[in-house]
Amino acid sequence: MVNKIDLALALLIVVQLVLTIFVWTLNPIIVSHQVLAAGYIASTLIILAIIVYVYYRGEDYDQEWVAMGIAMVALILLLTYLKGGVV
């Protein structure tokens, strides 16, 4: 029986795989590619933290932490773009 949390975790692993493959295709010498890679790695880490938190707390999770995590991911992606993280 697969529940929602398992599905979210599976989705995260897919997202991480896609991002890792994408980061792998970047040119690690170009600074803008490094910034993009760093932004994606940081976002993935925060998403992982959210999923582990929700999984750990089960039904008893606090909404504000999840909201803060989502806000952080958005901020990181915004900063990555503003700091020239482009392909």
Binding site: I5, L9, I29, Q34, D62, Q63, E64, L75
Partner: protein, 491 residues
């Protein structure tokens, strides 16, 4: 954990446990209250920062050349030619900075919660030694890129060593600088930074971890701790998963800092280059004291007084468990100890600021005296007021925040989005306001920018106050709607 034993993740966790025996670990269980407050895990975060800096450092070691002729060039090559070199170097620097900062927070937190009393005296002393080794790692690492700036700062550090009591001064000077050639100086700093100091730190860490496992987490100082929070939970999965979350957020912060404010390369040191000695931020406060007018006027004697006082204060803090005989541990019963801790934090902040704005000249005596006297009067008067019970001691900040629930629990997905948007706007407007105000003061951006900066700062402050106030209302800390509630339209 929900639907235990049913989900794929649970089955996978059980399979892992059957193989590794996590649940049969010798690591001791932790009380529930420690998993609701990250301040209990500052030491663990500092260890994480140490390993993060270490891994990035080992990668850089493959390309770094510890010789005055090639050190700067090799760092430049790391930044430009090595794959992800610039990012790895920044991760190393930010991990090191965060290690120092978290170690300081850990020290102050343990001071405030009196974590040095029996039976943790030796744990405190080992921790203090670890803190000193951490500072030395920062000091030795600063020279490795061979900047003119770091060379001058290290020169200042060696001058401090020369003023230590004899024969310690001669021995230490020989140990860190050898016979005085640049090649020897850099090689010794390199060996200290990459081999000796990390080895000492790992040995001290092993000792501290052993003591930690014997005594466990420090007791909560909260007087109305619910029974469920006192419950012990096993290390796996509870402490492990909690720490995975902290580690993810920590690493993400380090990586993000590396892209927001990446470090460049300063001017290379070559004989004859004259520059202002500028230590790293964590040594700025000592630098500030050394370059105050009255120390400079006294010359050699002034410097000796400064070194002696610094040495005595360090020793006092190392042996604090044997000096502090006050029995009550609760902060509200120790107003003067708390005041002293607050005073130290304010002084370090002020001295760092004074050193930064007076780079290249000395700090005037009147500025130095005022920056000492004003905080002293304010902080210790407040402590006296609490001591005499003229004012009721407030609920401890961390107790209040531990109970905070900024939003009500809804399953509505729109609430998530709205809260996320509000948080982004609040954080972004606070950050932007600081940038604009900085620009208005130091870059002459003009009055409209100042007004915009102040407006943004006010908006973000009001939103933060509103969040805390609504949480207070929900918790019952505020009995009924007051003028603040009406003004902020809550309640």
């Amino acid at each position: 954990m929900s639907e235990e034993g049913k989900s794929i993740v649970d089955r996978f966790a059980r399979w892992l446990d059957e193989n590794f025996g996590f649940t049969k670990t010798i690591l001791r269980p932790a009380p529930m209250y420690s998993l609701k407050n990250p301040s209990y895990w500052l030491g663990a975060l500092a260890v994480l920062a140490f390993f993060s800096a270490g891994i990035a450092g080992v990668i850089m070691l493959q390309y770094y050349e510890p010789h005055p002729d090639t050190a700067w060039e090799s760092v430049s090559r790391i930044m430009v030619e090595v794959p992800f070199g610039n990012l790895i170097r920044n991760i190393h620097i930010y991990s090191a900075f965060s290690m120092i900062f978290i170690t300081f927070l850990h020290f102050m937190r343990n001071y405030f919660v009196v974590a040095y009393k029996k039976p943790r005296e030796l744990m405190w002393i080992v921790g203090m030694l670890m803190g000193l080794v951490t500072l030395l790692m920062g000091f030795t690492g600063y020279l490795l890129p061979w900047y003119a700036l770091s060379y001058a700062a290290v020169g200042f550090g060696i001058t401090m060593i020369k003023h230590l009591p004899y024969p310690l001064s001669n021995f230490l000077e020989y140990l860190v600088a050898g016979y005085g050639t640049d090649v020897e100086l850099l090689r010794r700093f390199y060996v200290f930074h990459t081999v000796l100091l990390p080895a000492v730190l790992i040995i001290l860490l092993a000792i501290k971890l052993h003591i930690f496992e014997v005594h466990g987490i420090t007791e909560s100082l909260s007087r109305d701790l619910p029974e469920e929070d006192k419950k012990l939970v096993p290390w796996f999965p509870h402490v492990f998963l909690y720490f995975v979350i902290l580690a993810c957020v920590f690493f993400a912060s380090i990586v993000v800092a590396s892209i927001i404010y990446p470090f460049g390369l300063h001017e290379k040191y070559t004989p004859g280059v004259v520059t202002i000695p500028m230590p790293e931020w964590y040594f700025m406060w000592t630098y500030a004291i050394a370059k105050t007018e009255f120390i400079e006027v006294l010359g050699e004697t002034g410097f000796k007084i400064f070194i002696t006082v610094l040495l005595i204060v360090t020793l006092l803090f190392i042996f604090l468990p044997f000096i502090d005989k006050w029995k009550d541990k609760h902060p509200s019963e120790r107003p003067f100890f708390i005041a002293l801790g607050v005073w130290i934090i304010i002084q370090i902040g002020l001295m760092t600021y004074l050193a930064w704005i007076t780079a290249g000249s000395y700090i005037k005596s009147e500025h130095a005296v005022l920056s000492i006297i004003i905080p002293t009067i304010i902080v210790f008067t407040a402590a006296y007021v609490y001591k005499r019970r003229i004012m009721k001691p407030p609920e401890m900040v961390w107790e209040k925040f531990a109970k905070l629930r900024a939003t009500t629990l809804h399953t509505n997905s729109k609430t998530y989005v709205w809260n996320s948007v509000k948080l982004i706007l609040t954080i972004a407007s606070a950050g932007l306001s600081f940038r604009i105000l900085y620009g208005s003061i130091f870059e002459g951006l003009g009055v409209p920018s100042t007004i915009l900066g102040l407006a943004l700062l006010t908006t973000s402050t009001l939103e933060a106050m509103r969040t805390i106030y609504s949480a207070d209302l929900e918790l019952g800390n505020v009995k009924k709607e007051n003028w603040l509630g009406r003004w902020l339209k809550i309640g």
